[in-house]
């Protein structure tokens, strides 16, 4: 069995915008090891988020191979891809994207509503996830009652509550102050180190990239050189 969780070969993504064909990713190849914490860097429009969306299974490639944990994603139907995503991927957004009317508990519980779990099992998992991100005392707070850093930690709890092997994070510290960003990065690092989560993180911030095991640089849809 391969030690790589993610295997990408000659991946191309293009789409039509008006009369122009845009190709944010062209013939990109990449492998990410199981439990690795990878940072993707690059200027705006370099294809980082497109690559992240492909890896997360929320977008499909135009050509090439995208294999995650021995599963070729391009062969899955939309429904099966949605189910695969619900079981294997945790997504962390830059702007947290918590549901504003739901409490921290209810937000974290959302991915578990898709699984055949009893209420008690869901409660145990949600409380464990919130405990792991250090927010046990904010369980009934709504997003509007939390700081940005706390909101992002709730979002991380939501991403890990169903125990996926892969976490993808799109600039998770992009909207946070230095202190909160540091706490979030430390949390991601510990998830990789202590819980063997494979993490792919898009970031503009070199300090964030420094926390990762490896950092790659994208430009015009291609990997250009390892970032320093």
């Amino acid at each position: 069995m391969s030690t790589s969780l993610i295997q990408i070969r000659n991946l191309t993504k293009s789409f039509r915008k008006g009369s122009n064909v845009i190709t944010p990713l062209a013939n990109l190849s990449l492998e990410v090891s199981r439990g690795e914490f990878l940072a993707l860097m690059g200027p705006s429009g370099s294809g980082k988020t497109t690559l992240l969306n492909l890896i997360a299974g929320i977008d499909g490639p135009s050509s090439g191979d995208l294999i995650i944990d021995s599963q070729e994603l391009s062969t899955l139907s939309r429904g099966k891809l949605t189910k695969w995503r619900s079981e294997n991927v945790g997504y962390i957004f830059q702007l947290y994207h918590l549901v504003p009317i739901l409490s921290a508990y209810e937000n974290v519980e959302l991915p578990l509503l898709l699984q055949p779990l009893s209420r008690a099992e869901r409660r145990n998992r949600v409380e464990a996830a919130l405990d792991l991100v250090g927010l046990s005392d904010r369980i009934h707070h709504r997003p509007s009652e939390l700081s940005g850093g706390q909101e992002q930690r709730v979002a991380i709890a939501r991403a890990i509550v169903h125990d996926p092997g892969l976490l993808v994070a799109d600039e998770p510290t992009g909207d946070l102050d230095g202190e909160s960003a540091g706490a979030v990065l430390e949390l991601l690092s510990s998830l990789s180190r202590d819980h063997q989560k494979t993490i792919v993180m898009v970031t503009h911030d070199p300090r964030a990239a420094a926390v990762a095991d490896r950092a790659l640089h994208l430009d015009k849809g291609q990997l250009v050189a390892p970032a320093e």
Binding site: N53, F93, L102, P111
Partner: protein
């Protein structure tokens, strides 16, 4: 999905309240119209167990102009197939269409219970009514509308009566009239003794309605006061044609209310979907399938329709019950009384409307592009 939909509804309180208030208003109107239609259907739709004929003066439509000699009674009773007959004098305050009709029915006191054994005296006593010539047994709806109690004295149509009891009957008409002694009413209404408005005739079986009616009319065809005899419900349907046309028109009002509710819920749910584009994309990212997204939206539409509808339907039923409206025309009364069927139909319509109104928004929500929605500002 249901619990998530409920949270969405109850935590966006103002938006949900305004939508439900609109739905409730539409469903209130719909239920009021349905109640009118239903009440009319109950008194005009003939059934196999209907065995009552009404003998009226030919070519007369209002009680004040239908005058028949009381001495017709023995001739009617002798006709084969007749099981009983009762002369009735009717006095009304208004012969035209009205929402507040007061109707006195004068009947021979000794014949009332024999003719109408279903009458239930819920307050006061029948004996008291028998013992006083100016006594009235007042129908429950009539009493409620006028605020009358046993022992009260009231005056209407120039007739002053004493309330000896309040009655309840399975026949809607009985609940909207005041029964008084026939001789008293004949004298008080200045019609004079020996003249009545109509005869109500019971026949032995429904099959005998037509032959007995023909026989009665042929018996008096050459008399000074020829008659026209029809089954009671057909009599109502024919005599109250204007009323029926008026209520038939309200059918369109009901349809309009339904269309308004449909548009309101569809618009509200569509706005909800548009306002939650990013939230929906996040749910899809978490693994919510298109079907689940559509189900969530549909549940919200269903709940808005059902909760708003229930509010409107129940309000309308309670309002109509307390107000005891009675439509009257040419001496006939139509009590606008809601029943369980109207309540059930109203809730069912609200449910179907909520569901139908959410279909397109649900389809829109489930079809939105995940990547484009996530990238939207």
């Amino acid at each position: 999905m249901l619990s998530l939909a409920l949270k969405n509804i109850f935590r966006y309180r103002l938006r949900s309240f305004l939508t439900m208030a609109g739905v409730a208003t539409g469903m209130f109107l719909f239920t009021a119209v349905e109640t009118m239609q239903d009440s009319l259907a109950r008194v005009t739709r003939s059934g196999a167990d209907d065995t009552t004929l009404v003998v009226y003066r030919e070519n007369r439509f209002c009680p004040s102009t239908s005058r028949l000699p009381e001495y017709y009674l023995p001739s009617i009773e002798k006709i084969e197939g007749v099981s009983s007959a009762i002369p009735i004098q009717i006095a009304v305050n208004n012969c035209g269409a009205s929402l507040d009709v007061i109707t006195f029915r004068g009947v021979p006191p000794e014949n009332l219970l024999k003719y109408n054994p279903d009458l239930d005296v819920i307050s006061g006593s029948f004996e008291k009514w028998m013992s006083r010539s100016d006594a009235a047994l007042v129908g429950q709806a009539f009493a409620q509308r006028r605020g009358l109690r046993t022992g009260d004295q009231f005056e209407a149509v120039g007739i002053n009566v004493y309330v000896a009891g309040i009655i309840r009957s399975l026949e809607a008409q009985d609940n909207n009239v005041a029964y008084v002694h026939l001789p008293f009413l004949q004298q008080a209404s200045k019609i004079g003794l020996g003249t009545v408005t109509q005869f109500n005739v019971k026949v032995q079986s429904a099959e005998l309605l037509d032959p007995v009616a023909r026989e009665i009319d042929s018996t008096f065809r050459s008399d000074s006061q020829p008659t026209v005899t029809r089954p009671e419900k057909a009599f109502f349907a024919e005599t109250a044609k204007q009323l029926i046309e008026l209520i038939g028109f309200t059918h369109w009002l009901g349809l309009g209310a339904v269309a308004a509710v449909l548009g309101l819920v569809a618009n509200a749910v569509l706005l909800i979907v548009r306002g939650r584009t990013k939230e929906t994309a996040v749910l899809q990212t978490l693994g919510f399938s298109r079907f689940r997204i559509a189900t969530l939206v549909t549940c919200e539409g269903l709940l808005l329709g059902l909760l708003g509808g229930a509010l409107g339907v129940v309000s309308a039923v309670l309002f109509l019950h307390w107000q005891s409206f009675t439509l009257g025309n040419e001496g006939l009364t139509l009590a606008i009384t809601p029943d369980a069927g109207v309540l059930f139909n109203g809730l069912l319509v609200a449910l179907v409307l909520g569901f139908s109104a959410s279909l397109y928004p649900a389809w829109r929500a489930s079809r939105q592009s995940l990547v484009e929605s996530l990238n939207a500002s």
